[in-house]
Subunit: 303 residues, 2 copies
C-alpha cells in the first residue's frame, strides 16, 4: 500500500524560479491528501501527475498567503473540470471568508460542494478518518493560529496465511475472528493457535507536517516516533534571533525537535530566500539529527 509524500513547494513566503510556496501531497493508499496550497499548487500537482479526482481533502496549516493563495486556482480548475464530489477543507475557521470570496466572485455556480471543517486550538484531535488512515491536528506556535497535522495508518488486521484457507476451510465469521487474533477450532475440535494461522501486517506508518512554527517542544509528544516529520527550517542557525522574532524555526531547532521526538526521518523545508544558496541547511540540521533530508520541489519521499 502506497504511503508517500510529494513536496510541491519548498520555499517560504517568497517563491523563486525553482521553489514554489508551501504545498505537499500525501498519497495514502491512492487517496491524495493535499497539505497547504500556496500559489501554483495546481501546476505542481499536474507535474506530479496527481489525479485530481482522487483528492478530496485539503489541510491548511494557517491563513498566510503563501499557504493558501493556490486555493483559488485549484478550486476554480476543479469547477471547470465539472467536479461533482464534495471537497473537504480543514483549517482555521476564517477559511470561510476565503471560500466565500471565491464563490461570490469567481464561481457563483461552482459544480461541487466545498465543506469547511474548522480546526480549533486544543491538544491532539482526530479530525478525519477513513478505512486506511487517521488524521490528527495539533497547535503549532506562529504569528497567527496555526495547526500541525499528523497522518497515521490505521492498525491493520492480521493477514491469514494462504494455506490456512485450503487446509481448514474456515467460515467467513471464523476468518473475521482469526484476523482479529482468535485461534481456530477445527471440526475435529482441535485448537490451532492464531500464530500458526496468520502473518503480522507491517507496522502502521505515520507522517507529521509542522509548518509554520517557531521551535515548540510541546509537539514532540504528538509526533513521537513518526516515520517522517516535515518541520519548517526557514532560517540557518546564524539567524536564530530572526527565527524567534518572526515565529519561525532554524535548521538546528527543527533537528532538535526531530531528535527529541525520536522520529525516523526529518524533512526540512520552507527555506528563506535571504541566503545565496540552500547548501548550508542540510549540513546544519544533520549535525544534530543525522537522518535529515532537505525538501526539493517535486521530490517524492516514500514513508
Amino acid at each position: 500500500m502506497t504511503f508517500e509524500l510529494t513536496v510541491l513547494g519548498s520555499s517560504s513566503a517568497l517563491p523563486t524560479s525553482t521553489k514554489f510556496p508551501a504545498a505537499q501531497v500525501l498519497n495514502a493508499h491512492e487517496r491524495f491528501f493535499l497539505i497547504d496550497c500556496g500559489e501554483g499548487t495546481q501546476i505542481q500537482l499536474r507535474k506530479a501527475k496527481v489525479k485530481f479526482g482522487r483528492m478530496n481533502h485539503i489541510f491548511i496549516s494557517h491563513l498566510h498567503g503563501d499557504h493558501v493563495f493556490g486555493l483559488f486556482g485549484l478550486l476554480s480548475t476543479l469547477n471547470l473540470l465539472g467536479r461533482k464530489t464534495t471537497m473537504h477543507i480543514f483549517g482555521h475557521s476564517d477559511l470561510k471568508y476565503i471560500i466565500a470570496f471565491y464563490l461570490e466572485h469567481f464561481a457563483p455556480e461552482n459544480s461541487y460542494e466545498i465543506e469547511i471543517h474548522p480546526v480549533v486550538k486544543r491538544q491532539l484531535q482526530l479530525i478525519f478518518e477513513n478505512k486506511a488512515i487517521e488524521v490528527f491536528a495539533f497547535p503549532l506556535k506562529h504569528k497567527v493560529p496555526t495547526f500541525g497535522y499528523l497522518f497515521r495508518e490505521k492498525k491493520r488486521l492480521l493477514n491469514i496465511k494462504k494455506e490456512v484457507i485450503e487446509k481448514y476451510n474456515p467460515s467467513i465469521k471464523q476468518i473475521v475472528e482469526i484476523k482479529k487474533g482468535a485461534d481456530l477450532i477445527t471440526e475435529k475440535d482441535e485448537i490451532v493457535s492464531n500464530k500458526e494461522l496468520t502473518i503480522v501486517p507491517p507496522k502502521p506508518r505515520s507522517f507529521a507536517y509542522c509548518s509554520d512554527t517557531m521551535v515548540y517542544e510541546k509537539i514532540t509528544s504528538y509526533i513521537k516516533g513518526v516515520d517522517l516529520l516535515y518541520h519548517e527550517a526557514t532560517f540557518l542557525e546564524c539567524d536564530t534571533k530572526l527565527a524567534k522574532s518572526t515565529s519561525h524555526s532554524t535548521t538546528v531547532q527543527a533537528a532538535t525537535i526531530a531528535k527529541k521526538a525520536g522520529v525516523k526521518k526529518l524533512l526540512i523545508g520552507h527555506f528563506s530566500t535571504r541566503y545565496n544558496s540552500y547548501e548550508e541547511f542540510l549540513p546544519e540540521s544533520r549535525k544534530i539529527f543525522r537522518h535529515t533530508e532537505a525538501a526539493e520541489d517535486l521530490s517524492v519521499y516514500t514513508i
Copy 2:
C-alpha cells in the same frame, strides 16, 4: 530603446505542467508593464528576471480567475519586499473587490499604495502615458466586460547629427527647435535646412493585446498596422462553434483579424488544453496570415 514582450503564460483557463495561465510583460524602455496576472505570474516574472521595482503598472483584461489569480501572490510579495512605490492597476471597476479582499485578509498594513484605474466600456481611450509610451484601452467581446490594450511608443523628436553641434554650435533653444523640425539660421544669417541637420528617428512601435475575445471585427480599426498583435486563439478551426458559444476565438479567426488589421506580426496563445498537442495551432493560423507565431511561456518577442 527596448520594446519587447515576454509571454509569461500561454495557456487558457486550465494551466498545464508547461503552460501557465494568462500573463505577459512588456518592456518599454526598461519600464515593465504587466498585462494580466494569472496564477504563478510572480514565479514566471522571476524566471524572466524582471526587476519588480521597475514594474509599476498592471493592465487586467477581465476578471476571470485565470487572468487575475496571480495578483494575490504578486501584491503580497511586493509587500514583503517592503515596496514603497504606488502600484497602478487598470481594469474593470470590480477590481476593487479583489484588492479590498487582499488588503483586508492578507495585508492590512500593505507597505505601498494600490491605485485602481477603472476602465470603462467605450471606444479607444487613452488610459496612461509617460515620456516614452501611450496606452489605450478598447472593448473586446467576451462573456464579461473585457478590454484590449494598445501600447504605442510616442513619436520621437528628430535626432540632431553629431557634426552639426560641432559645426554650428547651436544654443539649447535652437537645438529644441531643430529637434522639432525647424531649420537653423546661422550667425552669418545663412539658412541650413532641417533635413541637413537631423536624422529621422525610428518609427514608433506598437503592441496590442486582445484576450479573451470572440472574433470581433470592430477592433481592427483600433489595432490597425500594429507591429505585434497578441490575439487569443483558444480553439482550432474544427471547434469554431465551441469558440462562438464560449466567446473565444479560433486560430483562423485570430489570423483573419490580423490580416484585416494589416498588422506586421501575429502572436497567438491562450490555447485550450482539450487537444493532444499544440502542433496544429500555428499551421492553421499561418494558412491565413503567414507572419504568425505561437506563444510559448517565457519566450521573448522583440518588437
